[in-house]
């Protein structure tokens, strides 16, 4: 683990630290408040209060479950790209398109130059961090993914779009660091879509992170990793958060051929299944991963954001993540002794 960097930032983590990818399900009360707010049945202040309550709930829940690096749960967000598109200049809300099965999202359209108008996530990061002494991750969507998940009717090509977005997203990263964030996750799930564009993605991510004092995590999921591994390791991130249980630990075959040289946040529970994995299954997954990647480099978390599960399912999945990680910690510490 890049412990030197983390230590310099004042963060000391145990073996197999636990975290989450970002989103949690919105409690029913918040869902109702969102609907009421849309109908103008409640005020913005009342709505904000419900979002804060839900955020407090999830921060407390993560502490109870002994998660090491927390997230705010994104109670204030709808979609991970639309949220940024709604708060930056240059976008219009697009129509609904399907992402899988019966799930749809409003795909934004870039119609003018994109522009950061001011802090987007900082206020919520500060609110969540105030609720706990544990480190809270700053959470952003990266420029390559925003570019790929929006329709573009303004910029001449994909590279120009990604770089324009990168310049603006960097301002948000600077604002988060200014507010005190030490670990910042820049989600780039679209990274694997066009392997031939890895250079574009790298250029964009470098614009966002270069020279900034934070430990950078990225989340990449549900892609054809065989086309971008090991090249993706050259991206300027300290930690790659990857879904591994969805593909039955298939990624380990790639890591066997080319060693995984960065820190790894390993997804060990499937976020698209209602079934909560038992401890034996998750233990087996962690052990399988630790046979290929040095335990010193491994963080443990779910495959992806848990927002599509029920609150109960999400809590149960986090619980099994936490228990299995604690077990692994004990086991490997004993081995070390």
């Amino acid at each position: 683990m890049n412990r030197d960097k983390l230590k310099k930032l004042g963060i000391d983590l145990p073996l197999f630290p636990t975290t989450s990818v970002g989103s949690f399900p919105k409690p029913d009360e918040l869902k109702k408040a969102r609907a009421d707010f849309r109908k103008r049945a409640i005020t913005a202040a009342q709505f904000r209060q419900k979002e804060e309550e839900a955020t407090r709930f999830w921060v407390k829940k993560q502490e109870e479950l002994d998660i090491d690096i927390l997230v705010d749960g994104e109670m204030y967000r709808g979609d991970m790209v639309a949220y940024f598109a709604e708060t930056m200049e240059g976008f219009e809300q697009g129509g609904l398109v399907r992402s899988y099965g019966n799930r749809y999202y409003h795909k934004p359209v870039i119609v003018r130059p994109v522009k950061w108008k001011g802090p987007i996530t900082v206020d919520w990061w500060q609110f969540a961090q105030r609720q706990t002494v544990r480190p809270m991750k700053g959470m952003l969507t990266g420029p390559y993914t925003i570019m790929d998940w929006c329709f573009n009717e303004y910029y001449p090509d994909r590279r120009a779009t990604a770089l324009a977005l990168a310049k603006e997203i960097r301002k948000e990263v600077e604002a988060l660091i200014g507010a005190g964030a030490k670990i910042i996750q820049i989600d780039e799930p679209a990274l694997s879509v066009r392997p031939e564009e890895m250079a574009v993605a790298r250029e964009a991510v470098e614009v966002v992170t270069k020279g900034l004092p934070a430990y950078f995590v990225t989340h990449v999921c549900y892609g054809a990793f065989e086309f971008i591994y090991p090249e993706m390791l050259s991206l300027p991130f300290d930690n790659f958060d990857l879904e591994m249980s969805n593909s039955d630990l298939d990624l380990l075959r790639l890591f066997g051929k080319n060693p995984f040289t960065k820190d790894l946040s390993a997804g060990v529970v499937d976020v698209h299944s209602h079934r909560v994995e038992d401890l034996v299954t998750v233990r087996r997954r962690i052990e399988g991963i630790a046979r290929v990647v040095s335990p010193e480099r491994i963080w443990i978390d779910p495959d992806c954001g848990l927002k599509t599960r029920t609150v109960e399912e999400a809590v149960s999945k986090l619980q099994v993540v936490s228990l299995a990680a604690a077990e692994a910690r004990q086991k490997w510490q004993k081995k070390a002794v």
């Binding site: 398109v97 399907r98 019966n102 879509v193 549900y222 969805n246 593909s247």
Partner: protein, 324 residues
Amino acid sequence: MPIFTANHSSYPRIGDKPEEQRLRRAFDSRDRNEIRDEELEAVIREVVSDAVADQEKAGLDLVTDGQIRWYDPISHLMQSFKGVKVGGLLRFFDTNFYFRVPRVEGRLERKGTLFADEVARVRKSARRPFKVVLTGPVTLAAFSEVDGTAYPRLEGLVQDLTKFLAAECAALSDVSWIQVEEPVLVRRPELFPLVASSLAEFSRNKGPAKLNLATYFGDVSALYEKFQGLPVDGLTLDFSYGAKRLLEVVEKTPSEKVLFLGVVDGRSTRLENLKELGSVYEKICARHKGKELYLTSSCGLEYLPRGRAFEKLALLVKLKEVLS
């Protein structure tokens, strides 16, 4: 030489207005056990009819069922076989759309009809010539996880899939075109011989319908000449990737097959300029040696909001007027 317009394959199943979202609501309600299977089925049928009606309203000459029933291009057909379990999600090419990865755990067995019954039902309601669209055996096999004991080699799985799908095609009636989609060729051109032998089997079984190979999500200019020797009547080409190269190749080697030109970008909301399209495709139309030529989108239209998808179809009809 006559020019026609065709829907490529899929069509958005919901729109932005609440009344256009009944399919989404119906699936949610079924998940919560609030409605029965028959009620969900009734909504699906209505939405299929709407998709066909939209294509007819836009003025297309050749329509599809919009693939409204398809969960995704891979698992929809694969889950119809015994021996297959549907697994986790994986991104479909470079889209932001995900399919469920089939796991082939045993030799394939047909559970029942795959698509012939459904095609017969939709065909009755469509007033225009109809095209059946199915993902090809090589793409289905390549995007599946395969147990090596059931099928030690990809070829075996492709052969079985071809056998079942081609047999189903033989049962189709009153269908103008059967479109076999093999987008895997843009990623793995070395699979071309497998695609060729699979298409030969379709060609023997297709009945009176014409057979069309579709590729998309990549530049196939390097394969274009080889395509000319395939036992198919038509070729559907995506001009949104490496358009310049493909245009040059198609202009240089006029095809004797029916070409379905994917001239509007099925992945971009940017509406193409009619004049520019006209000037780009004029030469191909003039030099084309085939009996007919179709204008279509680069891929299925499900990647667009419904309103824009309809506008793209309408644009095809206007382009046809310009080029004719």
